[in-house]
């Protein structure tokens, strides 16, 4: 492969940026799956709600308010969905859970299409995030003039901060300890007298909130149109599968892997369109439970 160091660096950055959105969506998916055991086909629709809310608030009141308001609103929406709908399905077959969240995805997508129209809504990046970063100022090994859009770098930083916060929450707090215990054996936790239902509700809200953060920063990059939700859902599902269902570390690893794969195959159009499926098939054949999947979890 004939590639300069400059091109290589840019591909790595693009890979990280693509991976960032995937990781943020997949993190919520895998968190919800790992704790609640629910495959949420409506997760892409939650991202849709987030980008439409973000673009509306951004264009009317400014980006600062969008950033402050959208994630908490998504948290509340997540909690309401869990209490009103998802909790009825804990004792029903997985197929029913998939069906009801799929129905929810259609309803939410069509509702947003009705309100905002089918066309892309321009999402103006705030002035402090506009422009480009002079990479050669920071990375001395680069030759000449190398630039990268500032907003995409911010997206990567946001993803890193969010992932770190989620890991800190799960590994450093008592709440996280209970959640992790619930991921391992929810039944035993209930025998020990832990109110698991309230925590399920919070986890679902948390997953929705991460989609909210993804929407605020990802909206300007992924566009704001009703198809975006489903377009992101399929790769995010595959990332969850590649990483191992319910494994947070796996989702991060797989998200970066897919982002990199898409970025580095960009010059080869044919390979680029199928690379993600190719990786999924290979992983499934070589390591059916995913990269970091725990043994015995939905194997």
């Amino acid at each position: 492969m004939d590639m300069t160091l400059n091109a290589f660096t840019l591909s790595v950055l693009t890979g990280l940026q693509l991976g960032s959105i995937y990781v943020l969506i997949a993190l919520g998916l895998t968190l919800i799956f790992g704790t609640l055991g629910v495959v949420n086909f409506a997760h892409g629709a939650l991202y849709l709600i987030a980008i439409y809310l973000a673009v509306s608030i951004n264009n009317a009141l400014g980006f600062g308010l969008a950033l402050i308001l959208v994630p908490p609103i998504l948290f509340v929406i997540g909690v309401l969905l869990e209490r009103g709908l998802i909790q009825r399905f804990y004792n029903r077959p997985h197929t029913d859970q998939i069906l009801v969240t799929f129905g929810l995805a259609i309803v939410l997508q069509e509702l947003l299409k009705w309100i905002f129209g089918a066309n892309n809504i321009p999402f103006a990046i705030p002035s402090w995030g506009n422009g480009i970063i002079m990479l050669h100022d920071y990375l001395p090994f680069l030759e000449g003039f190398v630039v990268y859009p500032k907003w995409r770098m911010i997206l990567v930083v946001v993803a890193i901060v969010t992932v770190s916060a989620v890991f800190a929450l799960l590994h450093l707090t008592r709440f996280g300890l209970v959640i992790r215990a619930g991921m391992r054996d929810a039944e035993m936790l209930q025998f020990l007298g832990v109110n698991i239902n309230r925590r399920f509700m919070i986890v679902f809200g948390l997953g929705a909130m991460i989609a909210g953060i993804a929407g605020v920063f990802g909206g300007p990059v992924t566009q704001v149109s009703p198809e975006v939700g489903m377009q992101l859902l399929v790769p995010s599902f595959l990332i969850v599968v590649i990483g191992g269902m319910g494994s947070l570390g796996g989702a991060v690893l797989a998200g970066i892997l897919i982002g990199m794969a898409q970025s580095f195959t960009a010059p080869y159009i044919y390979l680029n369109t199928i690379i993600i499926y190719l990786i999924t098939v290979i992983i499934l054949l070589v390591r059916p439970r995913g990269l970091l999947g725990a043994k015995g979890v939905f194997e």
Binding site: V39, L85, R88, R92, P93, H94, T95, D96, I98, L99, V100, F102, G103, L104, I106, V107, E110, L111, K113, W114, M230, V234, F237, L238, V240, V241, M245, I269, Y270, T273, I274, Y277, T280, V281, L284, L285, P288, F298, E299
Partner: protein, 324 residues
Amino acid sequence: MITQNNFWQHNKAVFIFALVALTMPLWFPLMGGYSGLDTKIMIFCIFVVGFDILLGFTGYLSFGHAAFFGISAYVTGIMLKSFSDNIIPAIIVAVAAATLVALIIGLLTLKRTGIYFSILTLAFAEMFDSMAMSMLQRWTGGENGLTGMPTPMLFDLKMQGDTVFYFCAICAIILFYLAKRIERSPVGLMMKAIKCNQTRLEYTGINARKYKLLAFVLSAMYAAIAGALMVVYEPFVGHEFLGWHQSGEVVIMSVIGGVGTLVGPMLGAAFMLYFENVMSVDLGEQWLLVLGVIFMAVVIFMPGGFMEAIARLKKRFFTTIDGE
């Protein structure tokens, strides 16, 4: 005499379906259905009956059956365009191609349980969708779709108007009969046992994977026949034939009608197409929103779909009479 009675008993549903289907051009326009919509309903009846062999019997929910529908449609279109305008070789080649693809996808996806299976079938269908739009563009016509097919012929019979309808209706009746036969057969019983308790089935020494794969490939073949007929019905193939919308539509039809009953999904297909094309006149762009709400309501409150509703009504009706 007894065998004759049994034959009637076993095939009551098939006879009723045949009667309803073949008289459809007479009564369907009275309900506001335009000519051609009845043909589409027959085609989707084939699709959903096949889908029920997989979802209804084995319980495996595929979100990627559009792949087989679309691949078959593309192959049919290409065959009609560049080989012969006779539909018989086109359909045979198309179904064979889709079956081969189904065999490969089935072998890969059925390694995993329900949830993985749904996600992976969705992914494979999306893969074919994006392939049709990029590397296969030369053959599929990409964004514009595959057009320019000659008028399809059944040997020297022009496939137009009512001829297409009766051809599709006869296909649907035969395929429904075959699905009923499969349901009653020992193989059908094995498939249903997979849905009940796969682990227990495997403990009795039976190779469940063989039956899962068979159900998957059979349902893909039904989807492929439907896809091929779709091109005979309307000489156009677009990449939306392969998209998740198409797969989702079949899932919605099956669930609304009543999974596992074979008849239910056909009711669901007829309802959805009627809803989409006739009732949507009053709803405008929001028809899909209303349909989504109906779908969710069915999943939440009446998992058995229309068939459960009919059974409930029947029960209520008969118990009142018994009570009196």
